[in-house]
């Protein structure tokens, strides 16, 4: 702050000039949260059970995964803005306020990244084929190769069947 002149004493104490933007973002994010969370809540009710197989099979599908990612990002962002208001209401020591807001930013960014990475991992690791499907397909391939060999097609089984 200033050196004690009347202007210097009040300089920097006014509006930060981005409050209304944050207020509006908080409301838009709330609407996003609402849509995503209602979709997820209805889906969870509709799932026959909440076991590992059922939940991963559902969440690995493109649309539920998209909603889950949007939900994680909008929720963390909305929560971060909400906690900022609480901190600004109750923490009046500038240095403490700065440190808390910084820690909150780091936690929110880390949390959102962790959530998004988890969903991406679910989508990419979800094996859409069961073991039975794989065995059935392998069996068909073997049969075809045997037929080709019987018909005398050269190279019917490249590399040989092991």
């Amino acid at each position: 702050m200033g050196n004690g002149t009347r202007l210097g004493k009040v300089r920097g104490l006014g509006s930060a000039r981005h409050g209304s933007g944050e207020w509006m973002r908080q409301h838009v994010l709330a609407a996003g949260n609402m849509l995503c969370s209602i979709f997820l809540a209805v889906s969870i009710i509709a799932l026959p059970d909440l076991g590992y197989e059922t939940v991963t099979a559902w969440l690995a599908k493109p649309f539920p995964a998209t909603v889950a990612v949007l939900f994680v990002v909008t929720t963390l962002w909305h929560a971060r803005l909400g906690l900022q208001v609480v901190i600004e209401d109750y923490v009046h020591v500038e240095s403490n306020k700065f440190a808390l807001l910084l820690v909150m930013d780091l936690l929110a960014a880390t949390g959102a990244t962790y959530g998004v990475i988890s969903v991406i991992q679910l989508v990419t690791h979800q094996d859409t084929l069961t073991q039975e499907d794989v065995q059935q397909q392998l069996g068909q391939m073997m049969q075809q190769m045997q037929q080709m060999q019987m018909m005398g097609v050269p190279g019917g089984a490249p590399g040989g069947v092991q």
Binding site: M34, T56, V72, S118, V119, H125
Partner: protein, 126 residues
């Protein structure tokens, strides 16, 4: 500072539902931010990590204290949702008449409890 004129009525007020709903909005929001988000991330992380990690999550979630946390979080969610929608209406400049304001304050709290009960009934019995 001391000589500045202050309102003589700052300490004179009567408790009302509009105060309760406002305080609950902040408490439920903070509760979900500090407890709900870690639970959500644990759930997603456990699903991504595999069946064993998910079994650990389920074990904790199905315990009595896990159910207290989950039911509490769902109530916080529905309460925050209802009072949040109330805020959307108030932000349009509507619903400030004393009786209207009081009615929707009470209703948002009641509807939240009904939605919480309905949600768990649907999860368990549908």
């Amino acid at each position: 500072m001391a000589t500045r004129p202050l309102s003589p009525h700052l300490t004179i007020w009567k408790w009302g539902p509009h105060m309760l709903v406002s305080i609950l909005h902040r408490i439920t929001g903070d509760g979900m931010a500090l407890v709900g988000i870690p639970v959500l991330l644990w759930w997603l992380g456990a699903l991504a990590a595999g069946p064993e990690a998910y079994a650990t999550f389920q074990e904790q979630a199905n315990s009595w204290y896990g159910m207290v946390v989950l039911v509490g979080l769902s109530w916080a969610f529905f309460n925050h949702l209802c009072s949040g929608i109330r805020h959307f209406v108030l932000d349009m400049g509507a619903g400030f008449e004393l009786d209207t304001n009081k009615r929707w304050s009470v209703l948002s709290i009641v509807i939240a409890v009904v939605l919480t009960v309905g949600f768990w009934a649907a999860v368990w019995f549908v």
